[in-house]
């Protein structure tokens, strides 16, 4: 975890243009709805003619797992797993450079019984949501994809 987090406040003026204010804050401050951010926003509101439309806090964390050689070690090679949410919509979760064991032998289909895939899906279902906040339910399927040079699948 970094020593500080980044608070970004979006300000919209009467003319409709927007600008952002970026402030580093303590690493313990993680809630953009909390008292510390509310105090900053109130103090800013007293000196600006703009209105603040959004406050967000970004927490950077660094990790150092190790790259490994493998059949799909290229970052443009990806495993795409489709997971259904509680309201029936499908969402794709992509993993770069997937391990060969993630796929059924001789195919580009994801092996949903592979222990690594099972652990990944279980983690995503337990901890992630759709962009609109719906709970995720179960993996529907998955396949290997390859991004084109422009970054699109």
């Amino acid at each position: 975890m970094a020593a500080s987090n980044r608070l970004k406040i979006i300000v919209r003026t009467y003319g409709g243009t927007v600008a952002k204010i970026a402030i580093l804050i303590g690493a313990a401050v993680v809630d953009p709805s909390g008292a510390a951010v509310a105090a900053i926003r109130a103090a800013i509101d007293a000196v600006t003619k703009g209105e603040q439309t959004r406050a967000s806090i970004s927490q950077p964390g660094s990790y150092s797992t190790t790259s490994a050689a493998g059949a799909y070690e290229d970052d443009q090679d990806k495993m795409s797993i489709t997971i259904a949410d509680a309201v029936g919509q499908y969402h794709s979760f992509r993993v770069p450079a997937p391990k060969a064991s993630c796929f059924q032998a001789g195919t580009d289909r994801v092996n949903l019984s592979d222990p690594g895939v099972v652990a990944f899906v279980n983690y995503i279902v337990a901890n992630c949501k759709s962009k609109s906040g719906a709970a995720l339910v179960a993996a529907i399927g998955g396949r290997r994809i390859r991004l084109k040079a422009g970054g699109r699948a």
């Binding site: 300000v11 600006t48 003619k49 950077p60 150092s64």
Partner: protein, 148 residues
């Protein structure tokens, strides 16, 4: 708290980078992030080099008002000094004209709103190492996105 956007950075064996995005309201502390790293490491040959978790609050604070300085190009630029002696700048767009002295560009340090803002930032704002900031001075500036 609203749901958070979780961005994970990967680097493969050849040095190529990739980024994937998830949405969650549980991956906010270090332990939960470690769980995501472990789950991804189990299915990817790429190294995971970083995670950025962003939580947002879309509550609107204040009401936009017209008047002088009411553009984003007009700013109050506040200068702070960190524990290591480096300067840090915080810019406030569309400042209220009442916070400046009659010269229209020097910050009025006796203004109650200015004093409250300085106190709030000295309490809550940090340098990249997590050290506190001390206010130095403030001045009105005009950015160069529009000439005039």
């Amino acid at each position: 708290m609203a749901g958070s956007e979780v961005v994970v950075n990967f680097v493969d064996l050849t040095g190529q980078k990739a980024t994937e995005k998830f949405f969650s309201d549980t991956i906010e502390d270090a332990a939960a992030q470690a769980g995501l790293v472990a789950a991804l490491d189990g299915v990817s040959d790429a190294a995971i080099t970083g995670i950025i978790v962003t939580a947002a609050d879309t509550t609107i604070v204040g009401t936009a008002a017209d008047g002088v300085y009411a553009t984003n190009e007009d700013r109050l630029e506040m200068r702070f000094i960190g524990g290591g002696g480096a300067y840090y700048f915080i810019g406030i767009p569309a400042p209220d004209e009442s916070i400046f002295l009659p010269d229209k560009e020097t910050l009025d340090l006796a203004n109650a709103s200015v004093m409250a803002l300085i106190a709030s930032l000295e309490t809550n704002a940090k340098d990249p190492n997590g050290g506190g900031l001390t206010f130095v001075d403030g001045v009105r500036i005009k950015t160069r996105t529009k000439r005039g």
